[in-house]
Subunit: 257 residues, 2 copies
């Protein structure tokens, strides 16, 4: 018996030879102006009392035998959500023996794979993309949905732990590399950049310190244009110069701790 | 038939119920004043021509069913090398379907496990420790041996790729966090610190720039003592102040890219 919402991609491919010991899970973060979201898949399962319930899980799947792990992650993401050509970064693997221990999870796996599965090691990948209203409507299919990171509902398996760890990796990356610029329009104000940092880091930053620190970066280029049609004092626009960043980076010793 | 040098820890424990799909491998880097080394295990195998050969592999093993991945890594390291209480950091997993494809490797696995093994996903861990002459003699057992990273011999499976990736992670960490100080004596000269960076990063750094950059760090505390009994102008000793570092780190915005 297969659930009405089939949320394991493998189940869509009859005869795919899965390896029931190893899976991949994708934590896709979506930045949308003032909010950080994560892409989840609705799942229907039967609780121990026999009632049909709905919760969510990460886009993930067992790997097929003879399938490369990294390719399994891209394949799964595309099959389950429609998102493709996303740069997925390995960040951790989860291998606690009791990570699949809730009765309903074991039952659900049995219904969806035909195997008695108790022990799965999962390789987790993450990515950060920009989510505009149009992309969030068009890009995702099935029962995939973007959910505010501040309001994550009940999740299957240990997926809330995987999301927390993925977020910590993303925040570490944002502090050490200029990955945020790709999510902003080509020209942006310091305030817009600060909001991006605040949303992803999940905290409020001091305006003066942020401004001072970011303007020290040689790759922040001030444009001649200012904002127009704003009620407050118009702010200058900036752009991020990737060439300057690359040059500065390779010339520097690297460590700034 | 089990090889004379049994280099899979599991083989030492009759009845251990291994999972032949998932393994752990440990890349232990050893810093010894002027050299970076890696801990390898000698392996005997029969080449396709039927001749007994010797090469090396990382300390690694299949996980036991119901064994936590992180604990499997510590257990394997201790069983194979005698090293214990080492902080092991996950850094990547290796899951290419053809990573075990050489005839002699497949044969060796069969002899050592009794299974026909073609596909194994391995979780890789690394650590950096100090190797003094005394510790390198006492800490390791069996046929474990420290080998200069510049002169790595022929390795089993994809273990040279795993070491390269592990080294890149270590170098990234060294550039972003003050992990090197723990390998130096409590008081050290700037020159000693620079040598540590050069050895681990595998490059020569400009003396003046290094000095300038490192002295900007608030947590480098100059001591009153200077070197004595040296032919050149004696240099001041410094110490690393972890408390200042922690305070500075939590107060800072973090990103210095």
């Amino acid at each position: 018996m297969i659930d009405f919402f089939s949320t394991l991609a493998s189940m869509n491919v009859p005869g795919r030879n899965i390896n029931p010991h190893i899976s991949v899970d994708c934590v896709i973060f979506g930045f949308s102006t003032k909010m950080l979201k994560v892409l989840l898949i609705g799942r229907e399962y039967t609780n121990p009392e026999g009632k049909l319930q709905k919760d969510y899980k990460l886009p993930g799947d067992f790997i097929a035998n003879n399938e490369d792990l990294d390719l399994a992650a891209s394949r799964t993401l595309e099959e389950l959500t429609g998102l493709k050509d996303i740069y997925l970064q390995q960040f951790a693997f989860f291998g606690k023996p009791d990570r699949i221990s809730r009765k309903e999870d074991i039952e659900w796996l049995k219904n969806n794979t035909g195997h008695d599965i108790h022990r799965v090691v999962t390789a987790a990948y993450y990515s950060l993309i920009s989510v505009t209203v149009s992309s969030s409507e068009s890009a995702i299919k099935n029962n995939a949905t973007w959910i505010d990171i501040q309001h994550i509902p009940h999740l299957a398996f240990d997926h809330s732990t995987i999301i927390s760890k993925g977020l910590a990796h993303l925040q570490g990356k944002l502090r050490s590399e200029p990955i945020g610029f790709e999510l902003l329009p080509e020209r942006f104000t310091i305030r817009e950049l600060q909001t991006l940092y605040e949303v992803i880091l999940g905290c409020t930053l001091d305006n003066r310190n942020f401004r001072k620190k970011i303007l020290k970066s040689k790759y922040m280029v001030q444009l001649e244009e200012k904002q127009s049609g704003v009620a407050h004092k118009p702010a200058y626009y900036y752009r991020f110069d990737k060439n300057i960043y690359e040059k500065y980076k390779s010339a520097s010793l690297g460590f700034n701790f």
